[in-house]
Subunit: 214 residues, 2 copies
DNA sequence: GTCTATATTTAGATAGAC
DNA sequence: GTCTATCTAAATATAGAC
């Protein structure tokens, strides 16, 4: 069946990307990973690049869908951190996030990849935006925070950490610990009294104006 | 002269990495970018991979050296953010940080790259650690913060943002704005009274214990 | 030390049999 | 729709002339 082979090729592309990286994928490595003939890459997707772009979206859609329910249950920054940590540990082992890193690397010099990767990343940021705006709703940060910007920063940082983890596992652990501390500091602000919260708000607003000018 | 050709090859590798990406570099593209014969890659460095590894270190050493003086003059989180922002704008245009992203992508599936990239990243983190420990010296965060971890988180996030910038410039701008706000919030903590600072310290310590258990 | 020439392998892509 | 066979281009790497 056709749909079956298409899906095998999409999954094979992800597997090849994971084991060979963007520099090592080819119609042949993909075909081998998919268990089908390499010529089918061109029959179904036209070119290797188009298959890579399609696979990035296909894979990310699945990933995001798998975490959507957990995201929906998040009610605090602490819980969001826990989901992020779980996601990092789990997908680091599975290597699914690395695939986005590979696409992102390829996207730097390939406009078609850039479009596909931006679209795939958007699937994550939309989800994170939703969680962040809920979680930050009644914190001093929430009233002034650029939530879409924060969501993008989180996504970009996450991918950076994912890439780092492969070359420096110990450094990656230390980095995650440090980010936990940062989250704790932000949560502390939620527990402040009204006067202190107003002061924090002013501090953030001043910074926003400053960064707009810069 | 031999040293001259070696340097030309190293610089050519960086240029090729920037314009072709890790998936597109080859002895020929490097030779062309360096203005020398492709066979010299093998004569001087043994293989394309070894040249890539050498170039990552060579380039990062230069980069870090170019920013060392500015880092040394940083006395506050605000100033560190400004240097980071400058570095992002400048090197984003020059494409020098992207090179580390390309190496990092290649490192995911190539142990030799992983070693070289970890060493190159270490040059940045050492520098950032120094600045952070100075800047955070008398903030509540500084007393409990995992400064080495924070330095690695900063480095990883920076590279992630750099990769993001190429595929989504608007999203990248928004992300940087959001991080500025975060910095402002942290600076606000420095301006708190003794009682509030003690509370913030406790909040962070609790988070550290929690994350050690997790 | 550098270049030319070339052996060998692998990649992208297509034609045509089934 | 899928596979075999194959063309062409490009890659790594080496031998040997200069």
């Amino acid at each position: 069946m056709s749909t079956d082979t298409r899906d095998r090729l999409l999954q094979g592309t992800i597997d090849a990307l994971r084991t060979q990286g963007i520099a090592g994928v080819s119609a042949r490595t993909i075909g081998a990973a998919a268990g089908v003939n390499q010529a089918l890459v061109f029959y179904h997707f036209g070119s290797v690049d188009e298959l890579l772009a399609a696979a990035a979206m296909w894979s990310t859609e699945q990933q995001v869908a798998a975490y959507r329910e957990r995201f929906e249950q998040v009610r605090s920054l602490r819980e969001l951190q826990k989901v992020g940590r779980d996601l990092h540990v789990r997908e680091s082992a599975a290597g699914n996030v690395t695939v986005l890193g590979q696409m992102l690397a390829g996207a730097q010099t390939n406009p078609a990849f850039a479009t596909a990767t931006r679209d795939a990343l958007a699937l994550w940021t939309v989800e994170i935006e939703r969680v962040l705006s809920r979680v930050l709703a009644d914190s001093p940060l929430g009233e002034v925070a650029d939530v879409p910007g924060l969501a993008r920063a989180v996504t970009a940082s996450f991918i950076g950490m994912e890439l780092l983890a492969a070359v420096d596992p110990e450094g990656d652990k230390a980095a995650f610990r440090a980010l936990d501390q940062l989250g704790a500091l932000l949560e502390y602000l939620d527990d402040l009294g009204p006067a202190a919260r107003a002061a924090a708000r002013r501090a953030v607003r001043t910074a926003v104006r400053r960064s707009v000018r810069a």
